[in-house]
Subunit: 708 residues, 2 copies
């Protein structure tokens, strides 16, 4: 069904719509607008009726758009023979209300900083999102939709940030979308606080997130909404696609929760409505006026219109051909696959696209005015958007030989320097600020009454911290960091994975980095955490060995284009050697190098000094060994072959590695790997270290035996 | 202060207390009891006043016990110079109400199956728990308390299951204690359903958990309480130590949640009270009568009585000497460290200890009666308690050469066999039963109205699934399993860590084990997950390569004494070779072995067939290579040197490894590691596999090049 509408009619309608949004319409023009819209509807119905047989319902333009989009997304799934039809048929009206009626974003500049954000937390609804991005003209072509879920396509199985224009976040791992949206809404408040003036509101937008039952069952959703409630992020609007069905059956099999009451407990404004796009739109309009964050529970029917509607059978299995044919008949859309009428294109052109363009242009005017009135703030604004960092004080930070400090303490000092010099770096810790040294002496903490500070109190919510920080990074204009004990990196690992997959450049501070934690014992002593994070693609773990390497870790982190973590000690470390940043930045470098050394010891963090001490003791026995510090294994592995061979010149059989953590992963460099492949112990740090043979004497004996 | 009470008075009081619980008291005896108790109190006061100067308050016996325990726990911390005084001083009345007034457990048989369970979710209150275990005579001596947090002591930094008698769960990683308690309460319901008769209730106990703000901020608490509400676990009683302070400051800095409303939304009975032990006891009594799970929010004051009471300063820093002295004066307890009066010992002897003994003996009588009346059920009961498994049908399961099946499907069949043969194996999946094949055709699912089934619908709550399964395993009498996609093992990793640390023998089924997931793309394709779990101490990852190895994986898992996971494919695998269980059980074995082969290929799971195919192709070029299947790396690493050398005989330079996951960790065996060290891709499985060079032809070419 291709219905051609009169171009001049549509042009005039669009003209009036735009004018209304910019300079307003006269009484007469308003009447004309109403008249033309009726004409348009009549013409649509006439065309429709003349071309479609067996017509039962005459849909409005809006309903037709929703139905065509449903069909389009179903065609994607059918063509891929893979995907999730249930949510497409249930949630299309929600996404229509958001995209066509509410969302302010500009398809020609998808990264516009003041656009409304939309996170599809239910990432398995990707085909639906791609259908919307298609009609919203984000560069997703009909061919791209035909290539849905095919290798190398613009339309992968779950939405991927940086891959498809218009996708604000990679989603799929459930629950994280909500938390990322909370991060975006927080970023909006923070940037508004930094840059808005009484007369010019540079940052002023909403964050929408669509989620389902799966997202809300995940614990991270509770952590995130609790934070949103505490900070009263009233520009966050959660659209809950409430279809009462999960993959395994009725929701009631696993859930008896009163979702809205739970959100109320967290401080949300709560609403409920049916799946009529008009009602959803009305709810969103109300939500925008709320002084609290809002959840709108939209009661939908999974797979609506398909044979198995309302059941889990339609969640993740393709509809069969017959089902699709009957569905399309019910929807009154073309039987042909991948067919969208001009009516629908026009619907989006005259609403989402036109509205976005107007808003964008208005904002450009504002920005121009801002640049003239507030040149200093404008300058900072650009720096923030372009991540132009002032690292002079960091780079000039002086490190003396023989200085003694826990690297967490050094980190605390450096963090204070870089956050003071760069007010768009924000973050904090999961309630361990005093231990991980993330307190900022120059800044207050962000709270519901003021977003002035740079410190975020994430509470004891590690996972949300990770995902919220991803949301802040996705928003743009801010650099986010978090902090907790290294052993609890496990709690936020799924968020670190997403930051790596999205290629965000935020960072984590993990202190208490070995059994040297001491008294708190095995539950608090990391063993396998570094192996877990080193094996994560596109993620850089930095374990500095002294004050200077900690400084270099900050320099590396703030210049990186991927996410990083800095792994810090609780215990004091001496600065036993000085090094150059360019060596550090290669991931590994010689601390002690002798032409006549047959053996090399590679160590990281607190074990580098141990290696130096052992080497010094061996020297007394006239045994010369090389010592290599390897603060960043993944970075070293990416160096050219020549450099790698230079560092590994002793050969696999003569390389000894020292790291007071799991040895897993070290065997690639050397045959002799000293580490801890069991759980830690509660006791005084020095006693625990000694019990694992990581004191100088024990290690000296062991290494001496190897060399002999 | 050592107050000696008249022995005959105390003996008579205890005699009456015991008699009351067993055969009941006459009217006269009741009066005598009342009279003696008053005498006791008077005597106590008199003694007290005569020995303590500067007396301001005369405490009751109960208050005195609480105060002495507070002082004792503070002494532990002071002596260790490490610990958490805040919770000791705030939460002691809660633990007193539980231990002395409510908990039915027997100190001489701490693993008694029908005891009430107590989980200290706020594991940092360990010193307090140890103080209670001391006065409850669980074998924690005064010397053990003096060794608090010292290397090798019975009293480590956080409570450790299997280490200290009376500790029902290892805790410390916040939030998990609540979820473990939910698992225990679920286990109680399930065992009651299996074994209780109208006339004999063999399993009938409560599960108590004390938690704090940190536990409730963690997302897993929401997952867990939501499940508890859905299953209406009315014998679960949560004591919320609500002190409105976290490590970093006032709770309001990070939280504005209405905790009780949130629990109400999850279907809980909610109560609130002050920190008077009488009121707490009264609330618990009410909770026991509730037809819903209960939370009692106890408003406490962190560090009550210390200089910094009510502030975060007292959370994790030791009190100074002066503070301790003034505190002890306020508490009216001895100034001496590690001093407990006989009054307190007697208080616990005549309450917790006496009550537990009576309850225990009553239950033994019941059990004896049960064994006679219901010999068949009694037999099964013993099998369940002793983990005596019937694995005949599993062991006789027939595997044919050239059979073709996805290992997830084989797993589904085997799971049905073993759960049918062993009704005390229970579990399910995090809403992916149809994908991970955890549905049990012979069983219904557990729900609030019936605990008859063996299937648990965890909902989309991976982390709670892991921790609840730990709780089930901790309870005893049941073996728990869970299931989800391998990539989402990240979500429950912290629970797997605790199961490993506690040495539980439950298991996980992880399907969709590589990029062969296909269309769902990188968010759903595991890469680093196996490295993350292999590096976890005391945890065994099993990645079977065909139907037979999957059967062996089950045999291994059900005989293991540590937690395991079985990692399963979505795609079909052919059975290209047969093997023996005794070889499989060594972790690695030769599939193809030739004396004249210089090179060996080690592979796991779906890549074993690839290795066989490559070896067969190389044979056509007259190149002979060994092929080794390594389903369990950690088990192989624990074999004796001879066996390890035999498997690795080709030497590091001539060993090639194949695993379609991160290569991290493989370098220890061989120089040439083929894997995937980047994120996956969305596309047809075969196309994705080929794009990573894991098709037979590409791999053949690459390996041929190495050998040449």
């Amino acid at each position: 069904m291709v219905i051609k509408m009169r171009k001049e009619l549509i042009d005039r309608i669009n003209f009036l719509a735009n004018k209304k949004k910019t300079v307003g319409l006269t009484e007469e023009e308003l009447k004309e607008q109403e008249k033309l819209r009726n004409e348009y509807r009549e013409e649509f119905k006439k065309n429709f009726i003349s071309q479609v047989s067996n017509l039962r319902v005459v849909h409005s333009v809006e309903e037709n758009s929703i139905n065509e989009i449903k069909a389009l997304a179903i065609d994607e799934i059918d063509n891929a023979n893979s995907g999730h039809p249930g949510i497409v048929l249930g949630a299309a009206p929600i996404m229509y209300a958001i995209f066509n009626n509410e969302l302010n974003a500009y398809n020609k500049d998808p990264n516009w900083i003041n656009r409304d954000r939309f996170v599809l937390s239910s990432g398995h609804a990707s085909s639906l999102l791609y259908a919307f991005l298609h009609v919203c003209d984000y560069g997703v072509t009909m061919d791209d939709l035909r290539n849905f879920r095919k290798l190398g396509s613009l339309t992968p199985g779950h939405p991927e940030y940086k891959h498809t224009l218009g996708v604000d976040a990679t989603s799929g791992p459930l629950g994280q979308g909500i938390a990322m949206a909370v991060g975006m809404a927080l970023a909006e408040k923070k940037l508004a606080n930094m840059f808005n003036k009484d007369d010019i509101k540079l940052i002023d937008h909403y964050t929408y997130v669509m989620c389902g039952d799966g997202d809300l069952q995940e614990g991270i959703s509770q952590e995130a909404i609790s934070m949103a409630g505490n900070l009263n992020l009233n520009k966050l609007i959660v659209l809950y696609d409430s279809n009462s069905v999960t993959l395994d059956g009725p929701l009631s099999n696993s859930n008896a929760e009163n979702a809205l009451l739970r959100f109320k407990a967290a401080g949300f404004n709560t609403m409920e409505c049916d799946d009529d796009y008009n009602n959803i739109t009305a709810c969103i309009e109300l939500a925008k006026k709320s002084d609290k964050p809002t959840i709108i529970e939209v009661k939908t029917i999974i797979g609506k219109g398909s044979v198995n509607e309302g059941t889990c059978k339609v969640h993740g299995s393709c509809l069969d051909k017959e089902d699709i044919a009957s569905l399309k008949e019910k929807l009154n859309v073309s039987k042909e696959a991948f067919n969208v009428s001009d009516i629908t294109y026009n619907d989006f052109a005259s609403n989402f696209i036109a509205r976005g363009k107007v808003k964008y242009e208005e904002w450009q005017t504002l920005l121009n005015e801002y640049s003239k009135k507030y040149p200093e703030e404008y300058n900072l604004f650009n720096k923030a958007l372009n991540r132009e960092l002032d690292l002079n004080n960091l780079e000039n930070y002086n490190c003396e030989l023989n200085a003694k400090s826990a690297t967490r303490n050094v980190s605390g000092k450096l963090l204070n320097i870089v956050t003071k010099d760069n007010p768009f770096i924000i973050g904090g810790s999961a309630d361990v600020a005093s231990s991980v040294k993330t307190s900022l002496s120059h800044s207050t903490h962000i709270n519901r009454d003021s977003f002035e500070g740079q410190t975020i109190n994430y509470g004891i919510r590690e996972f949300a911290m990770g995902a919220i920080n991803n949301g802040i990074a996705l928003h743009g204009g801010l650099i986010s960091f978090g902090g907790t004990f290294f052993v609890f990196s496990d709690y936020l690992k799924p968020a670190l994975r997403l930051s790596s997959l999205m290629g965000l450049n935020n960072f984590m501070l993990f202190s208490h980095d070995s059994v040297a934690v001491g008294e708190d014992g095995p539950t608090h002593q990391p063993i396998e955490q570094l192996a877990a994070l080193r094996s994560l693609p596109n993620y850089t773990c930095i374990r500095p060995c002294n004050e200077e390497e900690t400084k270099y870790a900050y320099m590396y982190t703030l210049n990186a284009t991927n996410p990083t973590c800095i792994i810090l000690t609780r215990q004091d470390l001496l600065t036993l050697h000085k090094s150059k940043y360019e060596d550090f930045a290669k991931g590994a470098y010689y601390v002690i190098s002798n032409d006549n050394s047959e053996y090399s010891i590679i160590a990281t963090g607190s074990e580098v000094n141990l290696a130096i001490e052992v080497a010094n003791k061996l020297k007394e026995d006239n045994i010369s060994v090389n010592v290599i510090s390897m603060p960043m294994m993944d970075v070293f592995d990416k160096q050219d072959e020549e450099y790698r061979n230079y560092i590994l010149k002793s050969g696999h059989d003569r390389i000894i590695t020292l790291e007071m953590l799991s040895t897993y992963g070290w065997g690639k460099y050397g045959k002799y790997n000293f580490g801890i492949d069991e759980f830690g112990k509660s006791g005084k740090a020095s006693a625990v270290i000694e019990s694992f043979g990581f004191d100088t004497n024990s290690m000296y004996e062991k290494i001496k035996n190897i060399i002999k």
